[in-house]
């Protein structure tokens, strides 16, 4: 079982200036949790991809960041949510090279490869939430005894 330490921050994603704040916030939060430089870089890059998706395809939304603990492992969970058109075909959207915009089509699939856990919840006409979690060091194995944060 994972223990969530409560929501740390909610950041709006309304303009490309907000993408800069998202990257800075995620980097600082990951550094505070003891993420190494490569882990920080991967998580910030994934956050940048997902925040841009929220802005470009979702018409804007927000990022919610939460610290999580599993045993002694500490992690950072990022949830990007929008109330945009949603994604009708998730498999297609996750495929490399697929894009409905002018990007390289690496956004969702690329971000998924940079984090330890990735979940996407999308309903056409309602919106999309992409939730990713990365851990400082090795990701915890399921079934590890829970410890309080």
């Amino acid at each position: 079982m994972e223990a969530a330490a409560g929501v740390d921050a909610r950041l709006p994603i309304r303009s490309d200036l907000d993408l800069v704040w998202v990257r800075q916030h995620v980097r600082q939060a990951a550094a505070r949790l003891g993420f190494g430089l490569v882990e920080q870089t991967k998580l910030v890059t994934a956050a940048s991809e997902l925040a841009r998706n929220t802005l470009v395809y979702g018409g804007g939304g927000q990022l919610t960041t939460t610290r999580v603990a599993h045993g002694r492992a500490q992690g950072l969970r990022l949830a990007f949510s929008d109330r945009g058109p949603g994604i009708a075909d998730l498999e297609q959207a996750l495929r490399d090279g697929y894009t409905s915009g002018d990007g390289l089509g690496m956004g969702l699939g690329g971000a998924r490869r940079l984090v330890h856990q990735f979940a996407i919840d999308s309903t056409p006409g309602v919106g999309t939430t992409v939730t990713v979690t990365s851990w400082a060091g090795r990701p915890p194995r399921p079934g590890h005894p829970r410890e309080e944060w």
Partner: protein
């Protein structure tokens, strides 16, 4: 007192000229619109200056996402059509690891470990893999 919000949203990146080469140094966290403006600025400067090489130093860049990757690849492609070669210099190891794990290998992009090596690469056509001699160059 100035706060973060009083900064102009788009501060252009300076493009310096060193002989036949345009040198651009990227720093910090780049705004999307700054990156797009830079792409246009470099392309126009090649046209007006006749530069035959472009060096983009990204040693001050902490992350390259697919957007910035696309901008770098497009600068190189546009410069190529204008007969200039582009070298991206100083990529941080953590950035290289992240790009490859993401699946973004940017095969068309020529790289060098630092600006000096990039200038060396551009100064010596034989080393840069350019088989066709450039007109007007000895």
């Amino acid at each position: 007192m100035t706060d973060e919000f009083s900064r102009p949203p788009v501060a252009p990146v300076p493009v310096l000229r060193l002989g036949d080469v345009l040198l651009v140094t990227l720093q910090g966290d780049l705004h999307d619109s700054t990156a797009e403006q830079l792409q246009q600025d470099i392309t126009e400067r090649i046209g007006s200056s006749g530069a035959t090489g472009v060096v983009i130093d990204i040693s001050g860049i902490e992350i390259v996402d697919s957007f910035l990757g696309r901008v770098l690849a497009e600068i190189a492609a546009k410069a190529g059509l204008l007969a200039a070669r582009t070298v991206v210099a100083g990529m941080r190891p953590a950035v290289a690891i992240t790009l490859v794990e993401m699946g973004l290998t940017l095969p068309g992009l020529r790289t060098a470990l630092n600006t000096e090596a990039a200038l060396h690469l551009l100064g010596d056509p034989a080393r840069s893999g350019s088989a066709v001699p450039r007109p007007g160059r000895r």
